[in-house]
Symmetry: C2
Subunit: 859 residues, 2 copies
Amino acid sequence: MATFADIATSALINLLSSFLFLLAFSVLRLQPQNARVFYPKWYIKGVRKPSRQTGGHKRLSLSHYVNLDYKAYLRLLSWMWDAILMPEEELIEHAGLDSAVFLRIFLLGLKIFSPMAGLGFLILLPINATDNNLQFKMAKNPNNPSFSDVDKLSISNVQDKSPRLWAHLLMTYIFTIWTCKMLYMEYKAVANMRLHFLATKKRSPDQFTILVRQVPPDPKRSVFTTVEDFFKSNTPDYLLAQIACIQIVYDANRLGKTLDKISRMENWLNYYQNKFDRHPLKRPIKKKGFLGLWGEEVDAINYYKTEIERMKIEAGKEQDEVMSDPKSIMPSAFVSFKSRWSAAVCAQTHQTRNPNKWITEWAPEVRDVYWPSLAIPYLSLTMRNVGMGVALFFLIFFFMIPVLAVQSLANLDGIVKKFTFIKPLVEMPAVKSFLQGFMAGLALRIFVALLPMILMFMSRFEGHLSRSALDRRAATKLYYFMVVNVFFGSVITGSLIEQLWAIINSPSIANILKNLGYLIPMKATFFITFIMVDGWAGVSMEIVRVYALVIYHLKNMFLVKTEKDRDEAMAPGNLLLNENIPRLELYFLLGIVYSVTTPIILPFIMVFFAFGYLAYRNQVINVYDPDYDSGAAFWPHVHGRIIVAMIIEQLTLIGLFTIKGPVGFAQTDVRNKSLSAATFMKEMLSSTPFLVALPIGTMIFHVYCKKRFRAAFQFYPMVEANEKDRQEEKDTPDLDLQKYLDKSYLHPVLKEEQEVQGRFRTVKTLRRRSKDLEEVESGSDDEGGRHLGLEGDLPAAHLEELEAVPYTPPYDSQISKSSELLLDPSHRHPHLKSDGSSSKLYYDSLPTSSSSRSSNQRE
Amino acid sequence: MATFADIATSALINLLSSFLFLLAFSVLRLQPQNARVFYPKWYIKGVRKPSRQTGGHKRLSLSHYVNLDYKAYLRLLSWMWDAILMPEEELIEHAGLDSAVFLRIFLLGLKIFSPMAGLGFLILLPINATDNNLQFKMAKNPNNPSFSDVDKLSISNVQDKSPRLWAHLLMTYIFTIWTCKMLYMEYKAVANMRLHFLATKKRSPDQFTILVRQVPPDPKRSVFTTVEDFFKSNTPDYLLAQIACIQIVYDANRLGKTLDKISRMENWLNYYQNKFDRHPLKRPIKKKGFLGLWGEEVDAINYYKTEIERMKIEAGKEQDEVMSDPKSIMPSAFVSFKSRWSAAVCAQTHQTRNPNKWITEWAPEVRDVYWPSLAIPYLSLTMRNVGMGVALFFLIFFFMIPVLAVQSLANLDGIVKKFTFIKPLVEMPAVKSFLQGFMAGLALRIFVALLPMILMFMSRFEGHLSRSALDRRAATKLYYFMVVNVFFGSVITGSLIEQLWAIINSPSIANILKNLGYLIPMKATFFITFIMVDGWAGVSMEIVRVYALVIYHLKNMFLVKTEKDRDEAMAPGNLLLNENIPRLELYFLLGIVYSVTTPIILPFIMVFFAFGYLAYRNQVINVYDPDYDSGAAFWPHVHGRIIVAMIIEQLTLIGLFTIKGPVGFAQTDVRNKSLSAATFMKEMLSSTPFLVALPIGTMIFHVYCKKRFRAAFQFYPMVEANEKDRQEEKDTPDLDLQKYLDKSYLHPVLKEEQEVQGRFRTVKTLRRRSKDLEEVESGSDDEGGRHLGLEGDLPAAHLEELEAVPYTPPYDSQISKSSELLLDPSHRHPHLKSDGSSSKLYYDSLPTSSSSRSSNQRE
């Protein structure tokens, strides 16, 4: 078993290698060619600009590749200060709240574990070390499993029934209370940060927009008309007048895929073009078959050019289909309001009797919307969730079965038998031992690497509407996977599925707890190694960005022609919350579970958190470009998982104390599995009352926190909405919200299509669409003022008119008049009426009442 | 063990006695003196009227006491038709939706169990009866517990591993699907009834009113002002103008108790007065001490007269305190709006950042409000709930301990030893056996009778705001109590607490299931008896109203002087949903659990449901006067409990099939408790896949129902609110909603005080209060129109004025003007400003701006 010397050596090696990685990073980041790998965020923000216009691949001076300024090397580690010194507010401004709060998780780890480590080293370690339980056991039964030096410092070394155990019991309470206090303060701080963030967030369409789902199908009317009519007939005039626009949802997933394909092909075209430019004599060729490995040989450049042309035509057709085919219109709509308050009213209330119709909720941030989910039928969501729940259960508990199966299939001997020619090579002892070691873990490593993808796929299948929700769901799945497979999987001997049956069928639930209480402290050495190898090394790898570095330079070599290409090649990536949050939570679990039994593990975890904080702060500042900003919506998740960790710790300790029982309590052998109910009760009653309050108290604490802070992550308070509306009205009285909100929630593929990639379209489509666009534009200019009139000035003549209408307040009648104008189908574009397609925007459909004639004439 | 003859005899006796009870009822109900006991509902509705003005106790003709009309006796059982023939719509109109839906539970029972009984008798009974497992076992081991005739018809009589078991397996699926179908249809029907009920319900203050809780304390401002300012500064003008009135909540619990005391004393005064009237020579005396058993003797009439006078003065003082002491003002307020839509917006949305401040929810129906709960600090609710959860756990599992303790203390021998004089009486064999039998169950009977009160007290302690919620919570508690103590308590041998430990520590969870699966079918005979004794007899007792009959005649004899007194003596009672619903649910549990194993139990349950339906329909029509109508809010509760019953059944069957295992499956002895995990797995995998889908499917069904229908019981849809508002506007355009809503949510004690029992007050208070009332009245007449002006006609002059204000829509400015008028504190009553008491109604505070001067002058 591992001695202290072993662990110290291992720690030294790991620290040194981490330091070398940091040094490598410090040098690499100074090289000009790497700037886009290590500082992409600044390029995106436009602070760093390309130094030179490098058109082709001319040979440049050495300084283009290597930083020759010796001064820079003197400040080799300055990036650390740069990373740490940026104030949190600036960080939020720079990288978003998600990133800032993600970094706070590291700090929370330090805050929780530093005093624990202090108390543990001052009080618990001496108490454990000066006892001699293990030596005693060793002497009594030499066949006992040997123990490591770490075990000597753990609670295992304290004799059963020893009064020393009171110290551990007391510490459990102190640690639990301390953790709760820190969690509470953090939850409060994050909730306030989120509310402040939302309150000061600048205007964005999601603040005004709700998503209406489950619009009931109506064969006679389009989705757009249905939504329009619904609000018209079921909303008080006040709210009706607040509606700014209705945007329907297209299922443009296929079009999206086609466009992706085109962009991949354009990459290849670039590659071959570059190749040809460099060697103008040799025209590049490619094979048409699978992966370019076989098949007919063709001229690559011509092939891709024609293919791209063909695909673009196809994309144009598909787009037309999307816009015109009623089947590609989902029974959902984004409805935008002219005030946040009105949107909040509609988002938080239930509209109709049938809770599966007309479901309203806040629209996610525009870039946060996960569009493919919008195409999933709402009623299949329950079944999908149930299905994925079952699948997750099997994945977690049966994960090891395929891994082991593949492992046994892919053993070295089997491979050698098939490919006899590699036999001599494999027979070499050094190669053989390496290969055997490598192959053994290979299958597991591949499966684990695939895991986040599998879990993300499962979460996608569940149909969450936003990327942030997907990340959170995938993170939850990964956390429970790791708790079972990494934590319990390492602690428990035998396969997990055996243990699961043992739990159902076991001698007793209490005995399971006891077993865990007995086994967990024994695994401390293993987890110390795990923290160093997985945690410390993982952070080093992260900061050097090996993968990104290689890919960037490859792309740079083969694909990049213009600065724009280079920008695209940067691939700054993002925080990968779905992977990183559960990983951090696992370290919380380890720290909390071992805090009382084996506090020597804590410094290793603290090093991980400190090092991780430094590394990820640098990455957040210089590298990552988040896809979205959910405003730390993941915090309740983090909080909840740490609570789970605490409960696991407390149950373990209940088990442990039932075995070891503090002063004067009955002692029982853990291997005596057939405890009678009476003995068990006596035991429970004699030791657990001291501990059983802990999980109950923790649960109450959790419920309290949920009641106290959860709302900040679920609702947008009416008061805040109203305040922000008033503030905006004061600051920008002339704001044209309707224009601002219009098309904000159009499927990005269609938007792109319309705005940028007009060149994709066939001539015929092009002609038709441009005419549509013209109409839209002219219409919005001419008549936009008419339906926006309610917001601005109201001419006195209007009022005189209204005096004639008795008993109705002028504002109301004004609303009803203009809302008729807004909503009466007879005013709509004849084109829309005739073909029944409602794929027009609200905004589009309005002004055409007058311009429709002109467009007809043009046709 | 019970033979068929035993059961038949028992059934006959029970049926006969029930029939006798019915006959007694049929005769008793015809007697004129009993009319107020059996037809109070009609007196309350004013359909039946007192026949004669009977002032005193003059001797009247025989016909006053006995119905001499022989024709009435010919139609002795006509009440049955009357009860059954009233159509459901009329019933809802007559007795409320709660009662109508309560009766549907009986029908649901019949609907579920009739086809089950049919199939069970046609298919399962012959299959069970023609096998010979029990005889076989008997032969093999004569020491086996003997079996009853009922067991011969149960699944126990089918040999293990017999292919006959496939029939049971199939039936389980058919029964489950049938039950789900019925539950679904019923949930749908009830949800629709509720929605229809709410939609057609006539105008009531709760439709317009929300309850605001957790108004943050402000030492400088009163609660009223705080609420007022909150809405003024945080609500868009549109919604602000919709506020009709703000009513603050007083803690008048003490005053309520004093008033109760006074009314009890008045009863006693009446009693002695009547006594004196009948025997004018003997002045009645009473002893002042405990329960009137000892102490100084005084003249009873004078004593109560002076006491009542004293108490009334006290009540007057208390009332003044309540109205003026800021401490008796709770940090809550009822805020009424002028439209249902606006109320729905405020009730369904979250107002501020802090979820524990400014909590808004729908106000319960006025008569449904449980006022004492409003005085409970909101933040203590969580702790109260946790505490009551723990208390309920102990009550359920340790309930038998005090019962057994009391039982052992109060045994006959001990009593005889103390009171030797009763020894000769007790020694008589007949008396002794009766007494021993009676005493044995006495403690249990007393505890069980107290149970609903204990559970209701616990629910009250949890602080629910409405009586309906209290009833539902108490019902939930009683159901789980009965499931554990009545159902499992009867099935499992040994004390419950032992079993609980056995579950935690047991050989395996699976073995518990097996034990249950083995034990439950054996108890069928017991439950058949239980259904007859508890169910059938219970219903007979209910219809005769023995207790009410006795109390009414006692009151009539001693207390009643006027017709009003007689009305009060009727005490129609209500449905006691908190007791009756869990009782019905228990019968569902029995029926569902035994439907497959022992279908012979089903007819007994069907008789109960049919008989109960008849009896309770009569009671609902003729007797009960519900305290509130929650609109069948208890349905999700009933649905959920039946689902629980189904899950219990399915788990039992899984256990049973694991023992008996259909064709070809491995057979295991239930007494072999140390099954290895592997054997268990093999077993589970070989038999459970056929059944394990059932509980999973049932849970999915439950979640689906919840998603589909639950909303109808939780939210008031915006569309409905808006429709109803529009309808009302059309129907009654001149409605003065402000007047209608004003004071609707004043504490009933204070209302009573103000409106009826002015005589209680001291002269001083009376003068002050009457002046206040004058002000209120004059104010509302003079100036009510001013702040209501927004709703009605708006003179043209107003509009001209408004044209001068540019850029703000006229309606807005009108609102802000009038809302200033409404809400500016400077306009409020000087009295309120000076003493800081905010105990005035919103409505009161408004008109006083002009009338305050006049009131000051009068002072």
